[in-house]
Amino acid sequence: MSSSLAANGDMLVILRHAPHGSSWLREGLDAALVAAAFGQRVSLLFQGDGIMALVPGQEPGALGQKGTAATLDMLAMYDIESFYADASALDRFDMAPDDLQLPSLPVDGATIAQLIASHRLVLTF
């Protein structure tokens, strides 16, 4: 748990939905990619069910729908490298912070409030 932030930036994208069940997660990642493609410094916060995006070993949907795992791998190519994970959600889902698809800093509520304050623009998905 950390209360000191690695970085602030232009945009914080909060991802609150799990993969596959809806298009929210994909749309949030797309928004992050567009902003990064235009040179914005983007941070991602995986919150609530959104931390399911970080589970390793995801596959395409039953009908062959694309998942989001490949997109997460692609973020580095867009220089998106600040990842935060909601610590209480990690606890709730019994997920270990060192077993996530992307290296993410676990953050508590107070730190999330700081993250929101320290980014110029905040989008929730």
Binding site: I14, Q47, D86, A113, Q114, I116, L121, V122
Partner: protein, 96 residues
Amino acid sequence: MILHILNRSPGTSLVYRDTLSAMGPEDRLLLIEDGVLGALTSQVRHFQSVEGRLFALREDLASRGLEGRCDETVQVVDVDGFVTLTEEADKTVSWF
């Protein structure tokens, strides 16, 4: 000050918990759409931690016939008040 806007009822969605934990000490919370159910006297306990910083949109209360059931600790604002809250905030964050 950041204005947080919540449109889900505490009875159907737990998003309000994440909203509250992400709020800074000066931040305000505006309940809109189904979110106004949280402003009812029977529900407002969920928002105890932001008492005095809790707002609800009059139009959404009125359309649901709930204006009279809104707890007195909640500050009711109309759409113009919504605009004012937005103007007073550094930014707004939507929760849904």
